[in-house]
Symmetry: C3
Subunit: 274 residues, 3 copies
């Protein structure tokens, strides 16, 4: 699957529109380029829909949402649905404020998403209306364990059934599922949580991969998740050689996304389906 997914990215060079937060936007743009896509960011309501219409995918990331950009997200999302441009939602900080919560439910009502990617606390909040989230990181009490894995897969599949979206729950163990199939992915490194925006960056890569593989959203998402995790592992190996810190790690993570290929993924992906 990796070869086909990556091959389509390289041959299509998907243009990815991101309405995203200003904290991690540069890293998102650079990792879209590194992954083989081309980024464009346009959040004014006067052009958000029009820019979406020339793109292969739309990312909606609510990390620094505001009254103005929320309207642009909805407008762009609806336009994308009309044009069958896949829309990826990153519900950053779901559960942390009423504004975020209301925005998420408005978006879910107004827009059909191809993929929803979040940490376990964010996805739990979407599925149930409550979570143990504190800020933008997953709560320790929500962590996916060997014991809870089956129930988390079930949660993802139920949410997929309810929304029609592929659900990606990422953390130490990642779950990527639609209503019928699930991938369990165990790539990644704890150092990824010491860099801001690794979640946002993964969502950006999903935008790139899904934009070039519209007929294979589940596989494209799983490939993006495995690729990002593997980049984290490779970056950590290299970091140890360089004796670097967290910001060198950030750079290496994007570096490896620009170097990843089907062979590396075939060798390094720790993925199983069920």
């Amino acid at each position: 699957m990796f070869k086909q997914i990556l091959g389509n990215v390289n041959s299509n060079v998907p243009l990815v529109h991101a309405i995203t937060n200003y904290v991690t936007v540069n890293d998102c743009a650079n990792i879209i380029l590194a992954s083989g896509g081309s980024p464009i960011m346009a959040d004014d309501i006067a052009e958000a829909g029009e820019i979406t219409s020339i793109c292969s995918a739309l990312i909606i990331n609510i990390g620094t949402l505001n009254e103005r950009t929320i309207k642009s997200m909805i407008t762009a999302g609806k336009k994308a649905n009309v044009l069958k441009v896949p829309v990826i939602l990153d519900p950053v900080g779901a559960g942390a404020s009423a504004l975020r919560n209301e925005t998420i439910f408005t978006l879910l009502k107004e827009v059909n998403f191809a993929v929803i990617r979040g940490n376990i606390s964010e996805i739990k909040f979407i599925a149930s209306g409550s979570s143990n989230a504190q800020g933008v990181d997953a709560s320790a009490s929500d962590a996916v364990t060997v014991d809870s894995l089956d129930s988390v897969v079930a949660l993802a599949q139920e949410l997929s059934k309810a929304t029609g979206a592929v659900i990606a729950i990422t953390g130490a163990t990642d779950i990527v599922a639609d209503s019928e199939k699930a991938y369990i992915i165990k790539n990644g490194h704890p150092m990824m949580s010491r860099v801001t925006g690794t979640g946002c960056m993964l969502t950006a890569v999903i935008g790139s991969f899904v934009g070039a593989n519209k007929a294979h959203v589940l596989e494209a998402t799983a490939t993006a998740v495995a690729a990002m995790g593997l980049c984290g592992e490779l970056a950590y190996q290299r970091l140890c050689e360089l004796d670097g810190g967290t910001n060198t790690f950030r750079m290496l993570l994007i570096d490896y996304m620009s170097k990843i290929n089907a062979d590396l993924l075939k060798d390094g992906a720790k993925i199983e389906s069920r």
Copy 2:
């Protein structure tokens, strides 16, 4: 003092809310993580107060202020005061425009700050209503010298008395003072002025350290200032080995914040109290 301050950061993992400029926000988020905290940025008035209520500290940085975010700063600042969440002010470019000047005085009137950190020109402006500031850098004519050190310490202590805030004046020589005690810190490297946002990043680290040490605001601020300066020195040493330029230095600066510990600080801090 270093061991206790850093130990509290590591055990508390303070969640730090920053309403800050979009120029340096990514570096601020990454250095908060590197310092042992967790960042969240939320500038819409509909959630700024609510996000503050789940945080250990609030940073208000006026670097790219606008009409919309100024209101959010005031709302979040007032909420922080009610909840006894320490608020740190970075008056970027104080003296450079009427909008900045008015905003600073409005903020000082409406919000009680735990710490105010700026360069000498910015702090002089706040203390006296005038300075020699040009843009966002300190004026050469305002520079802290051996001759002016006593008067600058006195300025800081008077401003602390007037505002109730710990005052941090940073430059080649740093002064951190409340109305009773002052620390003089001589860490740092001139290369730090060739990277955008080293001031903003220091303010971010102060947010992290003060958020985890609410009963020791003066010591937490002095520790943050010494740590940042020492990171600059260590980054410069490593930069010479790598033969790098200013952007490698930027990365190394954040790297060293992720590696700093009480032993390194004890050996490297050039700090005296008076």
Copy 3:
């Protein structure tokens, strides 16, 4: 010419005001510093003109324009014209949306630009009202070739005559022209297109160089273009030694701007005039 242009930057340390997009703003600020200038970003209409009045150059980059900042661009641009502060336009994504197109023509009507820098598709759009642009990258069908070079130079010179601005068209081959003279520059490396914002960064460097060389706008712009291209070449050479990826390249690009000097430029510039 290089020695004089760079010498003026180093002795003047031009303060450069940029109303620019939030995707690449940190890299723009850092490369302005690396090039010898000092950056300030202020996009609220209440201060945009006043900040311009203390600066040596104003950059207007429409990458993430919105209703609020468009007004600030016009206000700051008009103020700059009154004060004879040179204004540099980066028409990011010209041709990609009605909002961008209208904004560009409004800006061209309301503000006199000293320099307009874009890729070939963006400049073609400005010159003719149409292009083959898709997103923010130049269209392959617009590429400057040996065969089309003469006509592209003619296009630049006509647009310069019509607008009074120096026109910089950048890509594999760069053209910098006013109505009387043109420079053809062949520095650069394809890796530059795999990093977001290399165009924005070049515009930022042009702001720095032109701000310190107001009497020599054509030469300052050509020097900035050659310098940026040479930095790309040097960064690529170093990247190969380090076996790095696209984000290491981004860092090295800014690093080399902090290391460039007249001797390196004299040896490395591939520039001819006609």
